[in-house]
């Protein structure tokens, strides 16, 4: 399987993603510079975390107009797999490829710590390898992860099973105490209607080796491989 990791000006998790894909998953991986107008032949595009364009204006607001994003949109329209992590998720929201928007964290500050996540839909390409009932331990690191969608969008993504990950406690209870950023419905990750685009605030690439304290992120990466 061939992966491409997009490098925006200000990406800082591009190498982590490349490392996991090529050295842990043993898959082909290439970097794609954000000025590129076309993508090489790929099975999955990763939009990595970071602070593209310094998060100026709003996180992801300027990166969404990078030339490569037209190619990413065409790729996803054709059914190609797109994984947006943290800033990548924010870019997908700003681009309208995923529904909703990010607000500043409700606590008013940058939050960087491990969180517990409950998988809400084991049927997606990105989660079909997650063991049933498994609570994933994966870190977050963001200031704008407070997911919001208007009521009609919230009810449609809930109804369609597009809410894939929720923040929860270690036992899997979804409540206000386990919500690190104020996200509506404790939402940590969603897919598009077609299920081929996944955006999440937690960083699975930072939890893909036991030496890092958790390798739960591998469940997400391995799900992608299982599909193709």
């Amino acid at each position: 399987m061939k992966f491409g990791v997009v490098v925006f000006a200000g990406s800082n998790c591009d190498r982590d993603c490349f490392h996991v894909v090529s050295n842990i998953l043993n898959q082909d991986c290439v970097y794609v510079w954000h000025k590129e107008k076309t993508l090489p032949p790929l099975d999955c595009v990763i939009l990595p975390g970071g602070f593209s364009y310094g998060d100026y204006l709003r996180a992801g607001a300027i990166a969404r107009f990078s030339p490569v994003m037209n190619a990413v949109r065409e790729f996803s329209d054709r059914g190609g797999l797109v994984l947006g992590i943290c800033n990548g998720f924010q870019i997908l929201l700003e681009a309208g490829i995923l529904e909703g928007a990010m607000r500043l964290n409700a606590c008013g500050s940058f939050v960087c710590r491990h969180v517990n996540l409950r998988c809400e839909n084991y049927g997606t390409t990105f989660t079909r390898g997650v063991p049933s009932g498994k609570i994933l331990n994966i870190p977050i690191a963001h200031a704008e992860g407070n997911y919001y969608a208007p009521p009609e969008v919230m009810s449609s993504i809930e109804r369609n099973g597009q809410v894939v990950l929720r923040y929860c406690d270690v036992a899997g209870n979804v409540d206000a105490l386990s919500n690190p950023n104020g996200a509506a419905g404790n939402i940590a990750g969603i897919v598009n209607k077609q299920g081929n685009v996944f955006g999440l605030m937690p960083h699975p690439e930072r939890a893909s080796e036991a030496v890092l304290g958790s390798d739960d992120g591998l469940h997400i990466f391995r799900s992608i491989l299982k599909q193709l």
């Binding site: 607000r103 407070n146 919001y148």
Partner: protein, 80 residues
Amino acid sequence: MKRIGKIFILPKKEVLDPQGKAVTSALHSLGFAEVVDVRVGRFIELALNDGSDERVREMCEKLLANTVVEDYTLEIVFEG
């Protein structure tokens, strides 16, 4: 004559504004008890050599505001 586009962006009323909440409580702790609510947004000034309200509105819709969570108002003033 120079044209200046002034754009005021605020979080939508129904959207939680963490900065506004923090500033409200800071003002309260400084004794400004009359403050009921604060909303913190962004003011953008554009120097224009041409352009209509419509063009500036398009800039707001495309880039300057995220209309999922923000409202904006704009005015164009002439200077010089």
